[in-house]
């Protein structure tokens, strides 16, 4: 058991990520505080997932520093990873294993000793107790998403990373997920999420960063970003209904061109 080391749960300083000669992330810096939902927004290929992957330790940055709960992601990788819960964009669990077996596996590798009753209680909380004996491959997309989220928070991590957590969900499931994310925030977790939904960012994020071409263009609360950009000609041009929204600001700042 290790003691927490700093107040900022996530510190990213001067992060640069390169794929060969292509620079996906350019000098990105930001912090995420406890009890905060931080949104990372950007068009396709803007560098969101690369930034998240570097934080998760899935790729080695060219330069820069990342500390999770004070632990350097490279030098103290296991402690940093133990301090975070992750829901990846394209992730899956072994389709042959049952829900209860997957929870047992992840509880085990996060150092938790949960018995069957405790696992069933966790499943009860997300309305999936009846799905406990089902194989993961037999679950619906929404159920899989709930399992993925519950595994990300199973070990009560200080930082939760959610990569497009609501993509592919129906409105009911999306609202339910927002409530779960907010409940995590209220418990003191720091949450960083990426999303393409400006509605989602406005609805749940306390602060957001808009990233494009690997660079952070702005960081602030959604309302402050709208207020500070509402008079920019490109934002006004992007407005569709007179009232300036976060989406108008986003389109104004990142351009109308469709990214691959």
């Amino acid at each position: 058991m290790l003691n927490q080391k700093t107040t900022d749960v996530l510190e990213v300083e001067g992060l640069n990520v390169l794929y060969g000669s292509f620079q996906a992330v350019r000098n990105v810096s930001f912090t995420v505080h406890p009890g905060e939902i931080f949104g990372l927004l950007g068009p396709n290929g803007a560098g969101k997932t690369s930034t998240l992957s570097a934080i998760e330790g899935l790729l080695t940055p060219h330069s820069g520093a990342i500390r999770v709960a004070g632990y350097d992601i490279r030098k103290e990788a296991l402690a940093a990873r133990a301090s975070m819960g992750v829901q990846l964009q394209a992730t899956s669990f072994q389709p042959e294993l049952s829900v209860i077996e997957i929870l047992t596996l992840y509880a085990g590798i996060y150092g938790l000793n949960l018995n069957k009753t405790q696992i069933e209680n966790i499943l009860e909380e997300i309305n999936l107790r009846s799905a406990a004996p089902k194989r993961y491959g037999e679950l619906s997309g929404g159920q899989q998403q709930r399992i993925s989220l519950v595994i990300a928070t199973l070990h009560d991590p200080r930082l939760v990373l959610l990569d497009e957590p609501t993509s592919g969900l129906d409105p009911q499931s999306r609202r339910q997920l927002w409530e779960r994310i907010e409940a995590m925030r209220d418990k003191g977790h720091a949450i960083i999420l990426t999303t393409h939904s400006m509605e989602e960012a406005e609805a749940v994020c306390d602060r957001i960063a808009i990233i494009d071409h690997g660079e952070i263009m702005t960081i602030d609360t959604p309302q402050a970003i709208i207020d500070s950009n509402r008079d920019k000609p490109e934002v006004v041009r992007a407005s569709r209904k007179g009232k300036i929204t976060l989406e108008d600001v986003f389109i104004g700042l990142t351009g109308k061109a469709v990214r691959s």
Binding site: Q4, L58, A69, L78, R81, L88, T91, T104, I109, Y110
Partner: protein
């Protein structure tokens, strides 16, 4: 909220438990891995008197090791990589090596199981009886031979990302190894070809296994074959590990 790093042994225990369950649930492929050499062993009963029990049994074990390395390990690694299962495990506080170690331990179990099934089938159906030391040494050299085929499987998943391509390549290599290896060693393809086949990955493993089953027949050539097997294993594994990517993007 506290940071709790599990012991690597604990993590490995849970990984192994999950991997063994997955292997059991995929038992159709596991059965095929064991069934093919078993059928060959039964079908080659007539060759036992002509070529000797060790010759027949070692050929069948070599076929089984090829299947474990190529069909079992490689295909499962390619599938799990494509589905993002490894990436999810890699963001947990477990060393990367433990994820692979668990997979390899499952294959080690399969190698031992396949050997025991073939020993029993050989004894029961083909009346092959060998010294106890032969069986024991054969288990040991099977692990070395198995490591070579697992290395070959690692080479394939290292060089090819697409799981469909991995699947078709492993089947092709498996088929080629069995056909060329078995027919080559039987001498059906000519003496010169036989000499070449004996130093291929199929031939070196077969020669080592055959001598292991009858330890008294172990010669310097067998030791050389064992050395070449280890060399192949190191070569394949090092290229495979160097080129391996944990995701398909």
């Amino acid at each position: 909220m506290q940071t709790n790093i599990p012991k690597t042994s604990t993590a490995l225990y849970f990984l192994l438990q999950a991997d063994l369950r997955t292997q059991w649930r995929n038992r159709r492929s596991s059965i095929l891995v064991v069934l093919v050499p078993t059928i060959i062993l039964i079908a080659w009963k007539g060759l036992v008197d002509k070529m000797g029990g060790a010759f027949v049994l070692s050929n069948c074990i070599t076929v089984g090791l090829t299947a474990v390395g190529l069909m079992g390990y490689t295909v499962s690694i390619a599938r799990d990589r494509d589905k993002g299962i490894f990436q999810r495990l890699r963001v947990a506080p477990v060393p990367n090596w433990s994820i692979m170690a668990s997979r390899l331990l499952v294959q080690l179990f399969m190698i031992l199981l396949m050997n025991l099934v073939l020993f029993w089938t050989g004894y029961y159906f083909d009346h092959i009886t060998l010294p106890f030391a032969g069986y024991a040494l054969c288990l040991l050299t099977s692990i070395i031979g198995g490591a070579m085929y697992l290395g070959l499987g690692q080479l394939i998943v290292g060089l090819i990302k697409n799981p469909e391509s991995v699947n078709s390549t492993t089947r092709l290599v498996y088929f080629a190894f069995i056909m060329i290896g078995m027919f080559g060693i039987l001498g059906i393809l000519g003496d010169k070809f036989k000499e070449v086949v004996l130093w291929t990955p199929y031939g070196t493993v077969w020669r080592t296994l055959a001598a292991s089953l009858h330890p008294s027949t172990w010669t310097s050539t067998t030791s050389a074959a064992l050395g070449v097997t280890l060399g192949y294993a190191l070569l394949f594994a090092s290229i495979g590990i160097k080129n391996f990517k944990w995701n398909t993007k």
